[in-house]
Symmetry: D2
């Protein structure tokens, strides 16, 4: 007797949704979060390659999905009683190879350090295991007024076990 | 005895890849192609909603994945002996509701008509079945020099069965 | 006897600023507002031409500068006692020619009609007088909650004399 | 007796064009090139501020206008007998303050070093003299095949006198 992946009573559409979510959200591999990203027309420039600022957007998608994977979503953070948001204060990117239209890239994200309001994050964009770009990112927790604030204790508790 | 979804000899990474591709590529439902798209920071504007030109990028992703689903990729089309590309000549979008950060949207794409160099495409962006935006798009086939040209016979043969 | 454009007592920096503002803000020619826009790397795609959604951004810049030329700025509108914003509900663009990196384009914007919450706007992007793209845009006035609302009387009074 | 800025015989349209070009192209102040940039809807995100990757685009506009100010344009460089392009290999940005919709920013760009294929560039984005973001950028000269190549002697000769 087989054990179907999903109970027979779950309609096909719901099964599809679950798989979609797995890909859209990315997945955790050890301390690293990995997200697949497709390169579209919008990401390229007239040299035929991916525009360098597009990788900056891809890195941001990776950080967003890392946070979502532990239950932290931007809109929810801003809606807290003590509203907070994450602001990038430093971004150091090394571009190593060029990606092209139609490529499927993978964004790897790891939280490295937390101290007061500051967090350090290491990121990497790969194409089939080949390094395309690396980033070291410093992010600070800010209030809805834009001033830096110590990371709320519950958020710190959520993120601490993920530190690499 | 169970029948695993994928043979035991297929490594986990490969299984993941197959599912990722299903989501990244979207899927065909009848004559329609459907692609899931996540709303990120980059897609929003200072009103807190999705910037209207972001939907135009989402529609383009939908058309690209529709074409990929029948084996047509932009880079390959330009690399043909008779290079061709698709250029948008008209885009008529009706914006009905607003999407927000973190939303998962679905882009539905259907080829409606082909005649000479011209193709008409109907598209829709939904959030859980609710209409966000609708587009009627006219696309023409052009050479690598930018002049309109009749759609190559093999491409027309590929696309014709998909006409709604 | 000539009249110098700026009195000798105005410092160089201020003169530069005034001229910059004239170009950054664009200028009114009859009922039309005209704004110069430079094409950058970020606006192109891998075909070597301007990405079609970039024109949608250029049109938006044109509408923004049209409004600024009569004293209406987005942030100020949202900060009113009766906060309001302009939301695009329909965008119908015809793409006629392709622009390229380094081109200087001109966005022409004219308000055509106002009725209740709705406004109709005609726009055109040209390169040295040659048509690149035309747009018919429908915009509605919304509250900060996103519901359509009749254009406030003072805004209507400001915009009415500009109708083409 | 004053000398009018433009001779009386120059038609109004040409005068306007010259001024537009001065603003669109930016201007050199000592070793630094300065370019004014307006913040539009497209540059902001749902927090109400400028999206961090937008500054990366602004920095690129600054480098492009720096190069244009010495006669180097991207499309012309690619059209040379020995085609070349500039690729960003490292981008280190420190974000210090936030810009908002409608702000007029100034991008300051200075070439710092040239050695073989590599160039180092320092950039700064200011709002009325207040620092918004700083960038250290490493760029390499590449062929149209994407391989690094020593900067052509004529380009090096053009850029050398501008080194800070």
């Amino acid at each position: 007797m087989t054990t179907p992946e999903t109970p027979a009573s779950v309609p096909a559409q719901a099964r599809i949704d679950t798989r979609d979510r797995e890909t859209l959200d990315g997945r955790r591999v050890g301390h690293e979060h990995r997200l697949r990203v497709r390169v579209y027309y919008e990401d390229t420039d007239f040299t035929g390659l991916v525009y360098h600022a597009s990788y900056v957007r891809f890195f941001e998608r990776g950080r967003t999905e890392f946070l979502r994977s532990v239950g932290l979503e931007h809109a929810k953070l801003l809606a807290r009683a003590d509203p907070c948001a994450f602001a990038v204060t430093r971004l150091d990117v090394r571009f190593q190879r060029s990606a092209r239209i139609d490529d499927v890239l993978e964004v790897a994200t790891a939280w490295r350090e937390m101290k007061g309001a500051r967090m350090l994050i290491s990121q990497r964009i790969e194409r089939h295991g080949e390094a395309i770009a690396m980033a070291e990112v410093e992010v600070v927790c800010i209030t809805d007024k834009g001033t830096a604030r110590r990371l709320p204790a519950d958020l710190a508790a959520t993120l601490r076990p993920l530190l690499e």
